[in-house]
């Protein structure tokens, strides 16, 4: 029993505190963003499964009231001293309060994001025009070039008239492939889940690092698809032109925003040749994904099953 609890806790610590830094230190995750994304999400999922498992075990272990409820019929509470029961009840209450306050803090955030997105889309439907040639594109009449996508059933890609004027037809095509990849691979959902994970447990190193690294990896995955379809030169040109946004309007001049992530994307596209991931890398990543998700699940399940047997 005690070994199971120890292994559950150590799984949580391994995934929550060490998996992130380890993944960050991997040699060139940018070479295969898809594989890196899968590993990150497996680490996040494992972290949450392990943490939920620990909370469940803490609430159900004797003499906590959770266990009492479960075992009421077998009447096992009298075996424990009154003092122990009171202490366990207090601890359970504190734990539940902590969990609820985390949820109360982060779930409204998720709701706000979804509501804001719906409102954005409704405004778009009223203000933006349909693109003549592409039936998944809306055109927003504004001189500042922007291009983005949001999950919607129809016309999920938005470009401004500024973008149409700034980009050549080939570059525009690359932008569309990039955004379509975001939509096809459901990157918006991943970003929302990542934000929720960060809102719930911001202090875990794995979650903190995922929040920093994953958005860039998602962009790189979309970049790769666009580069394959339209050529890397074209995509880099499109990126550079759209990155110059503030310069175009002339309002910010040299004091433009830092473009660290963008520079990283451009440098990567210019330098590295796209190589197919080696079989070893693939196999290792698949193994990591399986272990990261299955281990906390199995250990937590085993511990809880054990708990129902002891009293």
């Amino acid at each position: 029993m005690i070994y199971l609890v120890i292994s559950l806790v150590s799984t949580a610590v391994l995934l929550g505190c060490l998996a992130g830094p380890a993944l960050d230190r991997l040699r060139r995750p940018a070479a295969h963003p898809g594989i890196a994304i899968a590993c990150w999400f497996a680490a996040l999922a494992g972290t949450f499964i392990a943490d939920i498992g620990i909370v469940a075990v803490a609430l159900l272990s004797p003499p906590a009231p959770g266990h009492g409820l479960l075992e009421w019929l077998r009447n096992c509470l009298p075996h424990h001293g009154d003092e122990a029961i009171i202490m366990a009840a207090a601890a359970s209450l504190a734990l539940l309060t902590a969990c609820c306050s985390r949820l109360a803090r982060s779930l409204p955030r998720l709701r706000r994001a979804v509501r804001h997105r719906r409102r954005h889309w409704e405004m778009l439907r009223l203000v933006a025009k349909e693109h003549g040639r592409h039936d998944d594109v809306l055109v927003l009449d504004h001189p500042i070039p922007v291009a983005y996508s949001l999950p919607a059933r129809e016309r999920a890609i938005v470009v401004s008239t500024g973008t149409q004027e700034t980009l050549t037809p080939e570059e525009f095509g690359a932008v569309l492939v990039h955004e379509r990849t975001h939509l096809r691979q459901r990157h918006h959902t991943m970003l929302l889940m990542l934000d929720l994970a960060y809102a719930l447990l911001p202090w875990l190193p794995t979650v903190r690092r995922a929040k920093k690294t994953l958005p860039l990896l998602l962009e790189m995955a979309a970049d790769d698809a666009a580069a394959r379809a339209c050529g890397r030169r074209t995509l880099v040109d499109a990126l550079c032109r759209l990155a110059a946004t503030p310069g175009v309007a002339g309002a910010l001049g040299a004091a433009g925003p830092s473009t660290g992530a963008l520079t990283e994307r451009v440098l990567r596209l210019e330098s590295a040749e796209v190589v197919k991931p080696r079989r070893v890398v693939r196999a290792a990543a698949s193994a990591f994904v399986a272990v990261a998700v299955a281990t906390p699940l199995l250990v937590a399940a085993a511990t809880i099953v054990q708990l129902s047997d002891i009293c």
């Binding site: 500042i144 996508s149 918006h188 473009t259």
Partner: protein
């Protein structure tokens, strides 16, 4: 919400944004039917205009026994609000969209949009 209702909502907003002042449903209907293949029914237009008023997109003023409808905000204001979303990331909630290039800080985006608006209004004034 989508489909015909959505398309009609947009046409109604377009007509009212282009109109010089608030319109009655009858006038709105005439404008909408000007270049439509199939004539719309009065009731349909009234229902959708009413829905838009409930959503806060149209303002309703009584005029005799009927109402006149006008947009609550100019089309440009909506465009600017959309551009702010498109250019910046809100702290209040997670990312709601995926940009091709990067987000800029909110205050920068606001400066940018303001400067641009001033410049275009100067051009029109000159």
């Amino acid at each position: 919400m989508a489909g015909l209702g959505g398309a009609l909502e947009r046409s109604i907003m377009d007509v009212l944004w282009d109109a010089p002042g608030p319109l009655r449903v009858r006038e709105l209907l005439a404008k909408l039917n000007e270049d439509a293949d199939k004539a719309l029914a009065y009731n349909t237009v009234q229902t959708v205009a009413e829905r838009l008023a409930q959503k806060g997109l149209l303002r309703r003023t009584p005029d005799g026994t009927a109402f006149r409808y006008a947009p609550t905000r100019a089309r440009e204001e909506y465009a600017v609000e959309l551009m702010l979303d498109a250019l910046t990331e809100s702290d209040d909630h997670g990312s709601i969209l995926a940009r091709f290039a990067e987000a800029v800080p909110p205050e920068d985006a606001r400066h940018l949009l303001d400067a641009l608006r001033r410049r275009t209004s100067d051009d029109q004034g000159a």
